[in-house]
C-alpha cells in the first residue's frame, strides 16, 4: 500500500470517511462495451437451454418412474404370479387358521369349595 499519502490521515473515523469519498471520485464508472447486450442475451439463452434440458430430463425421469410403477402393479395383479399359497389367503383367514391351531379344549375350572363339599358328603356317607 502506498504509505506517503494516508498513514497520518487514517487515525480516526472521519479520516476514513474522507478516504472513502476520495475513492468514490477516483473510481470512474466504466462504459459498457458494444458487446454487452449481445453477450448478455447469449448468456440468457444458454441458461434457458440448460433449464429446458433439465426440465426435459426431469419429465422423462418421472415418466419412466410412472411406467415402471404401472408395470410392477400389473405384474403383481396377474393371477399366475401367486406361487406361494400363503399370500393368497387374506389376513383374516390367516388369523382364523392360526387361532384354530392353538385352540384348546374347553375345561371347567376346579373350584376348591365344590371339592371340599364332595369330600364332606363322602365322609358322611361313610
Amino acid at each position: 500500500m502506498p504509505q506517503d499519502e494516508f498513514p497520518e490521515a487514517l487515525k480516526g473515523d472521519s479520516e476514513l470517511s474522507d478516504l472513502f469519498q476520495k475513492y468514490r471520485h477516483a473510481c470512474e464508472t466504466p462504459d459498457a462495451s458494444a458487446n454487452f447486450m449481445p453477450v448478455l442475451w447469449e448468456k440468457i439463452e444458454a441458461r434457458q437451454s440448460q433449464l429446458t434440458l433439465f426440465g426435459r430430463s426431469s419429465k422423462a425421469l418421472v415418466t419412466c418412474a410412472l411406467a415402471a410403477s404401472l408395470m410392477m402393479g400389473i405384474y403383481v395383479a396377474m393371477p399366475g404370479n401367486h406361487a406361494n399359497p400363503f399370500y393368497t389367503a387374506s389376513y383374516v383367514e390367516v388369523l382364523a387358521f392360526d387361532e384354530a391351531l392353538h385352540a384348546v379344549e374347553y375345561s371347567e375350572p376346579v373350584h376348591a369349595e365344590s371339592v371340599m363339599e364332595t369330600q364332606d358328603a363322602d365322609f358322611e356317607l361313610l
Binding site: M1, P2, L16, L19, Q21, K22, Y23, H25, D31
Partner: protein, 188 residues
C-alpha cells in the same frame, strides 16, 4: 426510479423488449456500483451481466414493481459477493489477468506519462482496495455501499433485511476492522 412500473410489469410478463429497456436504463448505475465494489475493471462487465442474468430469471418473483430498485441492488450485492469470494481464492494479480488497456496504463504510469491527478486517483484506488481486501467480503460490501455509494441506513435495511440498529453495529465493527487492518499494514 429510472423506469416506469408498467415497463417492469411487461418484463415480468416475458416481454424481452421491455427487459432490454430496463437493462439499458440501469446498466450504467450497476456498472458503477460493481466497479466500486470489486475494483477490478476487467471483470466489472462480466459481473454486471451476471446481475442482469439473475434479474431475468428472478423477475417473476418480484411481487411489487415499487421495490424493483432494492431488488436489483440486492442482486448486485449478491453477484459482487460471489465474485469476491471466488477472487479470495486467487488474490494475486498476474500480468495475464490484466486487460490490454491496463497494461498500457501500467506502462504509461511507469514511463511517467500519467499526469498527477491520474496518479493520485490510482493511488487512492489501490489504497482503499488494499484496505478493503484485508477485511471480509461482507464488511467490504457493507462499507462500500454505505460510505462510497452513499446509501442510507433505510436503504441498507431494505437490501439486507436487517434492523437499523443491527446494521449500525455491523458498520461500526466493519470500520474498526478496516482501521485495524490499516494499522497492521503500517511498518513498525
Amino acid at each position: 426510479m429510472l423506469v416506469e412500473f408498467d415497463l417492469i410489469k411487461r418484463a415480468q410478463g416475458g416481454d424481452s423488449v421491455a427487459f432490454n429497456q430496463i437493462v439499458l436504463a440501469y446498466r450504467k448505475r450497476i456498472l458503477g456500483t460493481i466497479a466500486r465494489l470489486i475494483s477490478r475493471v476487467e471483470d466489472v462487465e462480466d459481473v454486471a451481466q451476471e446481475v442482469f442474468l439473475r434479474l431475468f430469471f428472478s423477475l417473476d418473483q418480484l411481487r411489487s414493481p415499487e421495490v424493483f430498485e432494492t431488488w436489483l441492488y440486492r442482486l448486485t450485492v449478491n453477484a459482487a459477493y460471489d465474485y469476491l469470494r471466488k477472487q479470495r481464492k486467487r488474490p494475486e494479480s498476474r500480468m495475464s489477468d490484466l486487460t490490454e488497456q491496463q497494461v498500457m496504463m501500467a506502462d504509461a504510469a511507469a514511463s511517467g506519462k500519467f499526469d498527477m491527478e491520474e496518479r493520485r486517483k490510482r493511488q487512492v484506488r489501490e489504497s482503499v482496495s488494499s484496505l478493503l481486501g484485508a477485511v471480509s467480503e461482507e464488511d467490504r460490501i457493507l462499507l462500500t455501499l454505505k460510505e462510497v455509494e452513499g446509501l442510507s441506513l433505510k436503504d441498507l435495511e431494505k437490501i439486507y433485511k436487517v434492523k437499523e440498529n443491527a446494521l449500525k453495529v455491523r458498520l461500526f465493527r466493519a470500520r474498526q476492522r478496516v482501521l485495524r487492518a490499516f494499522g497492521r499494514s503500517l511498518p513498525g
